[in-house]
C-alpha cells in the first residue's frame, strides 16, 4: 500500500493543477463574452452585404461574374479556420476530421485539394498530415483585424481567377450556444445563386459607376472576405466557449480525483495508526 507521504504529494500536485485550470476557466469565460460581442458587432455588415449581393443577383446584370460560374471541378481549396491555442477540447480536431472527410470524398471524384489555413493549430495539423498548403494566417488574436485576412483571401481568389482552383470551401466552427459548436464545411465558390422570387420584376439593372466588372469584382471580393472574417470571429467565440467547458471539466475531474485520493490518504493513515497500535499492544503483552 502507498505510504502517506506519496499520497499527500500527489494531492498537492493535483490541487495546483486544479488552481490553474479553474483560473483558465474564468479567463475563458470573460473572454467568451468579449468574443461573442465582437461576433455580434460584425453581423450587421455581413447581413447588409448579403442583402446587396442578393439584389445584385436579382438584377439583370450585363456582366456574369466568374464566382457564379460552375466549372468542371479539378481542384478545390479549403479555407480552414482554427484556433491559435489548444486546450479547447475537440473543437479543432472535430473540424479537421470533417475537412479530411470532405477532401477524401472529393478525391474519389478526381478532385484534388489544397488548403489555406487560418490559425496555428490548422497550420500544425496540415503540416503533419501533409497536403498542399497555399497560404497561412496565424496569431490573429482575440480581436482579429479584417485586414489581416485580406492576403489569405486574395491568394485563394487569385488562384480561382487563374483557373488553378475551381471550387473553394470555407471550413469553420459555427457557434450554436456555449455548450455546442458545430463544425461546418460550406461551399464558398461557386456562389450559390439566390433563388429568384416569382413576383419580382426582372428587367432592371443598376447604374454602375464606374464599370460593372470592376464594381462587381470588388464587391464580391469584399463579400467573400466578409464571410471569411465572420467565420474567424465566430470561430473565436467557439474557441473560448469550448475552452471554458474543457477547463470546467478539467477542474471538476481534478476535484473528483482529489476526493478519491483524500479517501485513500485517510485509509492509509488509519491503517498505519491501527498497525502501530497493535504493535504497541502486542509489545506490551510480550513484556
Amino acid at each position: 500500500m502507498a505510504n502517506t507521504k506519496e499520497v499527500r504529494k500527489q494531492i498537492a500536485s493535483i490541487k495546483s493543477t486544479q488552481k490553474i485550470t479553474s483560473a483558465m476557466e474564468m479567463v475563458a469565460a470573460s473572454k467568451m463574452k468579449k468574443t461573442q460581442d465582437t461576433m455580434l458587432e460584425g453581423r450587421p455588415y455581413s447581413l447588409k452585404i448579403k442583402d446587396v449581393i442578393s439584389h445584385v443577383a436579382l438584377a439583370n446584370s450585363e456582366y456574369p461574374h466568374p464566382f457564379y460560374e460552375e466549372r468542371t471541378p479539378k481542384k478545390a481549396c479549403f479555407i480552414v479556420v482554427s484556433s491559435d491555442k489548444g486546450l479547447c477540447g475537440g473543437l479543432n480536431i472535430n473540424l479537421f476530421k470533417q475537412v479530411i472527410a470532405k477532401s477524401a470524398e472529393l478525391n474519389e471524384q478526381g478532385i484534388e485539394s489544397c488548403f489555406a489555413l487560418i490559425g496555428t493549430k490548422a497550420a500544425g495539423f496540415f503540416k503533419s498530415v501533409g497536403g498542399q498548403v497555399i497560404a497561412v494566417a496565424e496569431k490573429l488574436g482575440d480581436k482579429p483585424n479584417p485586414d489581416d485576412l485580406i492576403g489569405l483571401t486574395k491568394v485563394v481568389l487569385d488562384m480561382h481567377k487563374n483557373g488553378d482552383i475551381d471550387q473553394a470551401y470555407l471550413c469553420s466552427n459555427g457557434f450554436v450556444n456555449t455548450m455546442t459548436q458545430q463544425p461546418n464545411v460550406e461551399q464558398l465558390i461557386p456562389l450559390a445563386p439566390e433563388e429568384k422570387e416569382e413576383s419580382t420584376p426582372t428587367q432592371w439593372d443598376y447604374i454602375y459607376e464606374p464599370e460593372a466588372k470592376e464594381l462587381l469584382d470588388g464587391l464580391l471580393t469584399r463579400y467573400i472576405e466578409s464571410l471569411v472574417y465572420q467565420a474567424v470571429i465566430e470561430n473565436n467565440a467557439c474557441e473560448q466557449a469550448a475552452k471554458m467547458i474543457a477547463m470546467k471539466n478539467a477542474t471538476d475531474n481534478a476535484g473528483d480525483l482529489i476526493k478519491e485520493l483524500e479517501l485513500l490518504y485517510n485509509n492509509v493513515r488509519q491503517a498505519a495508526i491501527t498497525q502501530e497500535l497493535s504493535e504497541i499492544v502486542g509489545g506490551a503483552a510480550a513484556v
Partner: protein, 137 residues
C-alpha cells in the same frame, strides 16, 4: 417629406441606421447626392465624408472607401475599415504566401511605401471631413 432608409456599416460594427431626406457621399467618380426614389445604383466610394440629412438635421461620417448601393427606398453604405490600395492588397497576399512557406516576411521598402501612402490618403480624407464639418457649423 419623403425619406429614404440608410444603413452605414463597416466590417467590425454598425455605424448608422436611420431615415434620411438626402444622402451625400463621395463616389469614386465624384460627389453624389441621393434623394428618395433614386434609380438603382451601385458605385465605389472614395475616402471622404458621407453626410446624412434628415430635415434640418445633418450628420456626417467618415468613410475610408467601400461601396454604395442604392435601391429606390434604401441606401446601403459598406464601408472599409482601412484605406485599401491595390498595392497593399498585393503585399498582404505575398505576406500570406510567405507565411505558408514558413518564412519570415521581410518588410521591404515597397510595402512600407504603399502603407505610408495609404495612411496619408486616409489622413487627408479625414482632414477634409473635419474641415467640411467645421464649415457647416
Amino acid at each position: 417629406m419623403s425619406t429614404i432608409k440608410i444603413n452605414i456599416v463597416s466590417s467590425s460594427e454598425e455605424i448608422y441606421s436611420g431615415e434620411a431626406t438626402m444622402v451625400y457621399a463621395t463616389g469614386t467618380l465624384g460627389e453624389l447626392g441621393i434623394a428618395p426614389g433614386h434609380t438603382p445604383l451601385l458605385t465605389g466610394l472614395a475616402a471622404g465624408p458621407v453626410r446624412v440629412q434628415n430635415g434640418s438635421e445633418e450628420e456626417a461620417f467618415f468613410c475610408s472607401g467601400g461601396f454604395l448601393e442604392v435601391q429606390p427606398d434604401l441606401v446601403t453604405v459598406l464601408s472599409d475599415t482601412a484605406e485599401r490600395a491595390e498595392s497593399l492588397d498585393e503585399s498582404e497576399a505575398i505576406k500570406a504566401k510567405e507565411a505558408a512557406e514558413q518564412e519570415l516576411a521581410n518588410k521591404d521598402a515597397s510595402l512600407d511605401y504603399a502603407k505610408a501612402s495609404a495612411q496619408l490618403a486616409e489622413a487627408v480624407a479625414r482632414l477634409k471631413t473635419i474641415q467640411k464639418l467645421r464649415k457647416n457649423q
